[in-house]
């Protein structure tokens, strides 16, 4: 009988930040530019719908659609990104951004 049967393989997990940005879909390119400038290595974007202070975003035409962009970053970069979002975009656009803790296997990937 395999002695390791019930023990999971040893995992070395590294703490990182996930920044989630939900905004008007016309802003997607602007946000991606910002990500690149702050040093993000990649991102995931998906169309979403919802509502908030600036009304319902019903997502049936591009102009009223929302996009969610998720990106995993080193904590310092995550903070820099949030700061730039706040100074450059928050005032003028329908937008929400927040960070959360995640753990990843390959820290050099982000």
């Amino acid at each position: 009988m395999n002695p390791n049967f019930n023990t999971p393989p040893a995992m070395n997990l590294h703490p990182m930040k996930r920044v989630t940005i939900i905004c008007e879909s016309i802003l997607e390119d602007r946000v991606l530019e910002l990500l690149q400038e702050t040093g993000a290595q990649g991102h995931t974007a998906f169309p979403v719908r919802g509502g908030g202070h600036q009304g319902e975003r019903c997502a049936d035409i591009t102009e009223t659609a929302n996009v969610q962009i998720d990106v995993i970053l080193k904590p310092a970069i995550a903070e820099a990104l949030l700061q730039r979002l706040q100074t450059e975009l928050f005032a003028d656009y329908a937008m929400v951004a927040y960070e959360s803790d995640v753990r990843v296997l390959r820290p050099d990937k982000f």
Binding site: D60, T62, E63, T64, A65, Y93
Partner: protein, 344 residues
């Protein structure tokens, strides 16, 4: 008494042209496209669960722009560029000039901020492809011939007003404008590479290069199903416009009046310009309709990115909930009657 005779004849023609207008409006209202638009408004107002996926809306937009671009291109091929360039140039200039007089009106009479006035001016100078299509439909339904290459006017009228409007909204009149401003740069880039312009101009060139032989190859896809696609698109536009009706209160009475008087003035100027550049009654109607129409696809996206401080509720509600319904129901037959009278 000859003078009285004359007056009587005048009043008779006045009456008959009013009847003409009413008949024209009636036949326009009973076309499937307009009826589907009304259905869409009803669906939105009654809070029906009917909803188009965004992908379908994008598909329909791409189809309509490609189809009219291509058809226009084939017509340019047949008519020759010599017949097209003068009215096209006039159309382009008109588009660029409209924001220059709407902006001060919006600022002074409407009390809008610099950015809002620039944004609204950009929307009203730019054009609505669907209003244009509705006008060609109307002309077809009453068997009125028109210059099919008029979609070239549509293509060249979309961007100039957006650039001028954005510059005004950035404070060009106060000397605050910089061409290095990210918003202005974006508007300039979008003017050439934005999806609407790219598709329209691209399909126009392809149509002009491939000519009638090319048309027979794509006719089954771009011409025959066109009316059905348009009906679906207008159903969706009806829903989008219907959802905006609630914003009318926020927009205020001035914007409602502006949304109706601007197309009346611009449409008449457009018809006159068509007359001077040698267009037929049908062509004058189309140029009038283009001048009267306000953009709600190209302009909102471009302006949102270039003039973020402008409130999109004003420009979009004006263009979509007031001017668009006005034009496709009353404006189109009205500009046709004006064109007919001025040609007589």
């Amino acid at each position: 008494m000859p003078i009285l005779e004359l007056e009587r004849i005048d009043s008779v023609t006045d009456k008959s042209s009013l009847m003409d207008l009413l008949t024209a409006i009636q036949s326009n209202l009973l076309s499937p496209a307009i009826l589907f638009f009304v259905l869409g408004v009803f669906a939105a107002v009654s809070k029906s669960d009917l909803k188009f996926p965004e992908a379908l809306y994008s598909t329909l937009t791409i189809y309509l722009l490609t189809a009219i671009g291509f058809k226009g291109g084939v017509a340019v091929h047949q008519a020759g560029i010599g017949a097209v360039w003068l009215p096209a140039l006039a159309a382009m200039l008109l588009g660029a000039l409209i924001p220059l007089w709407t902006y001060p009106v919006l600022r002074k009479a409407g009390k809008f901020s610099v950015a809002d006035a620039g944004a609204i001016a950009a929307h009203y100078g730019s054009v609505s492809a669907v209003t244009f299509i509705a006008a060609t439909n109307f002309l077809k339904s009453i068997h009125q011939p028109y210059e099919s290459y008029a979609s070239a006017f549509l293509a060249v009228m979309e961007s100039p007003a957006i650039i001028v409007g954005v510059m005004l909204g950035k404070g060009a009149l106060g000397g605050k404008l910089s061409l290095r401003d990210a918003g202005v740069r974006h508007a300039l880039r979008d003017a050439v590479l934005g999806k609407g312009v790219l598709l329209l101009v691209g399909a126009l060139i392809i149509g002009a290069l491939s000519g009638p032989a090319g048309m027979t190859m794509v006719e089954g896809f771009f011409v025959t199903p066109f009316q059905g696609v348009l009906a679906l698109f207008l159903l969706e536009m009806g829903m989008v416009a219907g959802r905006r009706l609630g914003d009318l209160k926020k927009a205020g009475l001035f914007l409602v009046l502006f949304g109706i008087s601007a197309p009346l003035l611009h449409g008449t100027v457009g018809v006159l310009l068509g007359l001077w550049t040698g267009l037929s009654i049908g062509g004058c109607t189309l140029l009038g309709v283009l001048a009267a129409s306000a953009s709600y696809i190209a302009a909102p996206a471009a302006v949102r990115l270039s003039l973020p401080e402008a409130n999109p509720t004003y420009s979009l509600t004006g263009a979509l909930a007031i001017t668009f319904p006005f034009n496709i129901t009353i404006g189109v037959p009205l500009f046709f009657e004006i064109a007919k009278r001025l040609h007589a």
